[in-house]
Symmetry: D2
Subunit: 430 residues, 4 copies
């Protein structure tokens, strides 16, 4: 995948009878368009930095994925909706061919949003025709590719939200994507849960759909450790800021401190101090930084510095995954893509808010599991080639697709990026 | 002004009875909108480089000019259409206040095109009300400011065209702004007209509307010189290219050669070689580079190098202006903003195509005339502060407003820029 | 440490009776100066890039280390040799105070080499006096700091060599640091040694001197794997080049391929093709790339791409360390600092050339071992704060100090750097 | 020339009988070496920015000039002192061949200072032999080239001083090049001298040695104007600073203000405020900014902003040259290259300190005079190709060669550079 993404599911998707591949395809496609709906053509064209793409580009790219990997190999003499799109909407698949430069996606005012929607219709018609003609088993490997395409589109739903938040945040008007109320809640006090040393099984070999980087299932030896019951909150992070956390190099990695100085960081991304109080830009506009909510939009560097300052550390991804065994997935999923992290509440479990609130930075570099190999061809470029200078995040955010929320899912980003819904949970040696 | 700009007039404007200030205001405002009309909201949001602004920004900025310099000083307790616009649409007037960064104008997806049009309506209503209430003489100095605002808007009409051409040119689809046919014509052979040495009067102190940099009228001593009857053509420039003009430093200024290497220039801007033939991107798409048309979209460096290669030189602006005395302004003005330089034809004058085809680079640095001073206040920032590292251009292009076409008009750009409709005419010592 | 460094020992150091702390101090100090001796004051002032310091700066910085951490806390009212040196020669110790910018060390023509040597004499006199006055046990913790200072100086001996090689390589004259002959040898054929799965102990808690990042000793679970008997050779790497290794993205990490394009890499650092044959710049000038020698001066990216191309992978650092157990350290150490990797020879062991030839890239990100903590104060900045976006290397090069050569030593560099003596050995799943 | 340079003459050179070409050659060569003498090999290797070359490079380049333009065309089968030097020490003569990159001259630790001095000896021996064999008239055009080479070397003597000042200024030790006392003096009050309008002859066609850009002699029309009796002083410039001159954009050119913000300028180059008082770094170390001395090391932007702030303007170069007619050249020339601008004193002339104190910025862009042409071949690259985005300076500084001091001499630099001894004098309309 480009980056692990996804979006909370509609209530329909979260319950009820299992859906067919076709139904799931249609639901995913519809949700993407619903997410783009509140945005004007001008909004959908914006690109501020290389890593965050225009809405319009996301809408087209996920269609390109189906066109390239489903329609092209299936339909004889398939010619493509438009000769330029093969390059325009290829993200990074060298095996498919050249790519329009990632940093310049915002330069393409044409095709317009309207033309991109026509492209979506064209692809939908042909995919639906293909899926309708054949039973799922008859489709064989093609069904797997459609399944991957659905998950891929769900990943881009999350990116669509994080990218438009990033783009709109550069407008001094603090534009509203969608109005939304956040309920008041209290965060429980910080508590530590201990785990024994020993060899643990990590990763999965599937069953249901998984991404290739989640396996092979393998053993790791873990020393005894402890994990915090909930993520670090805004209120706690403000203490770090007020203690001079961004002003002294003591607790920072060398590269982190360099970044603080170069970028002039003095708070998480989207934080602004107004009249002595911290505010944060959200998809429903600027609002007060709620002390009980998990701190969000922090880099690995900030998470690591906070942990050191507080006398603890970040967990490894194996520690996180091992501890997550048996923890029920009962996030407060947002049904409309209006993403916002929520405050913690006591729920009777040792660990809370592991899933569906914020992505949690781990101290683990994003490396292949033992025995990991990539598939041949373009789809082999999905995950493996990004395993360098990125750190893994676990759990999934409020903007993550409900069916991406699982204990083994590995998200990953470079340590200086902050525009995803990223926070962290503390760990300690036993 | 930001940069000298303007646009060809509607036929109505080019003939008939003199128009009132109000009529001229309305005609200018209407033409700006007509020029933007073929562009989608996505097109109108694009900014590719700091120097070329989004269409939408031009539409708003020229309104801001009237709001700031006409409405604000006139209407008691005037509050402004929107509190953010004072900064968003201030181009460079430090005396008015802060400016949203020029290079980031493309980051503002909001206000939308629709909202910008509402802003225009609001400003129009109030300006028209103001102009209707008072006679022109009663308006006094305010009439001068409205007049300046009209010319300012006309300058931005030219910029709107050159900027959208620049933006769209980065799209591999070669988007069409407006379809258009160019008539076939032959360029006359190159001939030289001689001029005597002596003291000549240069510049103007007005009468009609002029920009402040066109005066004071003053004397310069000119040695005897000769001027070419027409601009250098595409056909002639291709000879320069084929003779290795872009491959050898001999004829280039040191700074020009450095630019050639850094930018990888091998032809004028928008030129592309296809199947062995030079093509050029125009507002009506990609088309063959017509040998008889004036070469266009060349920098000062390229004009200067060609001149040296051909054994001649560029004229000074005084030489150009002195020679232009008595030459009738009879350009082939484009009535719809669909800008395109045209081939020369014999017209019985010694000098042809001086006006309204392409801006002609002169060898003169853009310096103040003797005795030049700026007015006090923000409008003093219009011209004077740009008199450094720019060279003057004379004559006006096919995209220049008809009523900016005059012998004394001084356009100016840094020597490496090429996105205006820029060409050149040769000169020689006697 | 700034970066793990060191240098091969004089023959005297490699054998004979154990030496006293004072003797070891004196030997290390003398070797640093011997290494600088062939270089002119002009050579010793050069800095080409931020990461490679001038010889003169190394000579002063290692003295600053003793002055700051040994003399200052020991000698009452110690005032420092020169008030500016505290900042000039502080590498990265924020707890000590400000640092002269790393990238600008080459701007300090003063102090001259002569003055730096006087600084060394001053520090030597006082350290020797301190060590002579007290027995090693009486010195207590101070002895540990002196020991660390000696190892620190040995690390900078290696850096001095790699940095001057980098600096001189930018001179088209291919300057000779020291003339030297390389014996002809054959590389043995590639063979694989298998290792069983299981929990293994990794790291060390000391005994002899170790750096803090080598511990704590801890358990890891390893799946079964195989390791190559020797590093990849120049001859093998040339096959990769000739197969288009640098021209196709297939085998590269995304970040690696981006680096290839940005930097225009087409071969290892210092490689030049002349008359159809690959040559490489060495400290004894330009010479033919010997097919049997280990390939050297490759980045992590190149090592990883080669491994993928060859159908294998790089080992993790735990795999490397576990396999190294019992392998005798019998490198061909260079006694005069004239560093050059050597060809492999059969030696009766399963694994050869693990130590003292080239640093071997592993696939492991440089992360803290479980339970790792840093000491308080400035010396806590020695290693821990660099644990981000670096990969570990094992074994030690021909320029590494003999007493840094051990199985647990962890060197580390960002994946794009190539100026150390870096190569790699292949691994495979069982 | 690279840039107009030169250096004050020894007293011997300033008086006495006219010297032969050979004597002048030897005197110039000796002075260059005397100027380099106080500098260590480390000092002589430094390059901080692209525009300021290492001392060592100057020493070699001026020799390269004689080798390339005198020895090569004269001595049959001349082979060159070293094959690499043709490229290493070619500054910018494309007609001679490739050039080692200007910004990387500081990377060449080899050849050493010692080797460069051997190169000088070699060139000297052959030039002296050539000059001794033939009479000056017999030499013909070659004598002109030797003459040009002498003036070229004198220009580089000035650059050697300004460049080493720039390099050493980056060392927080404020290194002393040579100790020197400055006499105390008072600046006379500011007075204005008026000049009539009319056609004036400007430039010169020679007689004695001149650079090609000083001609052809030609007529310009000047409006009536006034010129200040002396340059602006440090004391006056401090008033500008204290009035917020660097904090408000009002008086600045747009490009100037951008530079102020980008570079963080708040005073002239080399100025430092200590204990509430302005100090300035000089070649004899840091000293108080003497109120009566001409302000020095200001850019065109600062000169222009000051002039506007004070209600006046800079003179054009024609105004300066016309006013300078008949003003005696009686500077306080420094006989040892220890450059320092001096305070003004009353001297009975209307205008003082025109020559030999500081270069004075004019408002004139560096353009060719009417009829200017360059010679064919490499020497045609000496001046003409730099006529873009530079402004002329007149008069000569304390570091300028005495025999470059004349009314028609045109120095030129880009408007943002400050490292030459640059100041300014005010002008006004009549």
């Amino acid at each position: 995948m480009e980056r692990n993404i996804g979006v909370a599911q509609t209530s329909e998707q979260q319950s009820g009878a299992p859906k067919s591949l076709l139904e799931r395809y249609q639901a995913a496609r519809a949700l993407t368009e619903a997410l783009a709906e509140p945005l004007s053509p001008e909004d959908q064209t914006l690109q501020i930095d290389w890593f965050a793409s225009p809405t319009k580009w996301h809408l087209a790219h996920v269609s390109w994925f189906f066109e390239t990997f489903v329609l092209e190999p299936t339909i004889p003499d398939y010619e493509g909706f438009h000769p330029a799109y093969r390059e325009f909407f290829n993200s990074y698949y060298n095996a498919v061919g050249d790519q329009f430069p990632q940093a310049e996606r915002g330069r393409l005012s044409r095709p317009s949003v309207r033309e991109v929607m026509a492209y979506r219709r064209h692809v939908d018609d042909l995919v639906i025709e293909t899926l309708s003609k054949h039973g799922e088993e008859e489709l064989g490997e093609l069904a797997d590719v459609v399944e991957l395409g659905i998950h891929h589109e769900q990943q881009h739903q999350e990116l669509l939200l994080t990218d438009i938040k990033f783009a709109l945040s550069h407008n001094p008007l603090y534009p509203v994507y969608k109005e939304r109320k956040i309920p008041d809640m209290e965060a429980p006090p910080l508590r530590w849960t201990p785990y024994e040393e020993g060899v643990r099984w990590i990763g999965t070999d599937g069953g249901e759909f998984i991404f290739d980087n989640e396996g092979p299932r393998h053993r790791v030896f873990l020393d005894a450790y402890q994990l915090a019951n909930r993520p670090v909150t805004n209120g706690e992070f403000i203490e770090f800021i007020e203690d001079g956390g961004y002003e002294r190099p003591d607790h920072w990695l060398a590269l982190g401190w360099k970044t603080v100085l170069q970028e002039g960081w003095s708070a998480p991304l989207y934080w602004i101090k107004r009249d002595g109080e911290w505010h944060t830009y959200t998809l429903s506009g600027l609002r007060k930084a709620e002390p009980s909510e998990p701190v969000c939009h922090v880099s690995y560097f900030e998470a690591d510095a906070y942990a050191r300052w507080s006398g603890s550390r970040l967990p490894t991804e194996a520690e996180w995954e091992a501890a997550g065994e048996g923890v029920p997935i009962e996030g407060r999923f947002v049904d409309d893509g209006h993403a916002h992290p929520l405050p913690a509440v006591e729920n009777g479990h040792a660990l809370t808010q592991m899933f569906g609130d914020i992505w949690e930075w781990t101290s683990s570099h994003y490396s292949p599991y033992p025995g990991y190999t990539t598939v041949n061809g373009a789809l082999g470029e999905y995950n493996g080639k990004f395993m360098c200078n990125q750190f893994t995040l676990r759990g999934g955010s409020c903007a993550t697709s409900r069916n991406h929320i699982r204990r083994t899912y590995r998200n990953f980003f470079p340590p200086h990026l902050r525009w995803q819904f990223m926070g962290f949970r503390l760990a300690k040696d036993a």
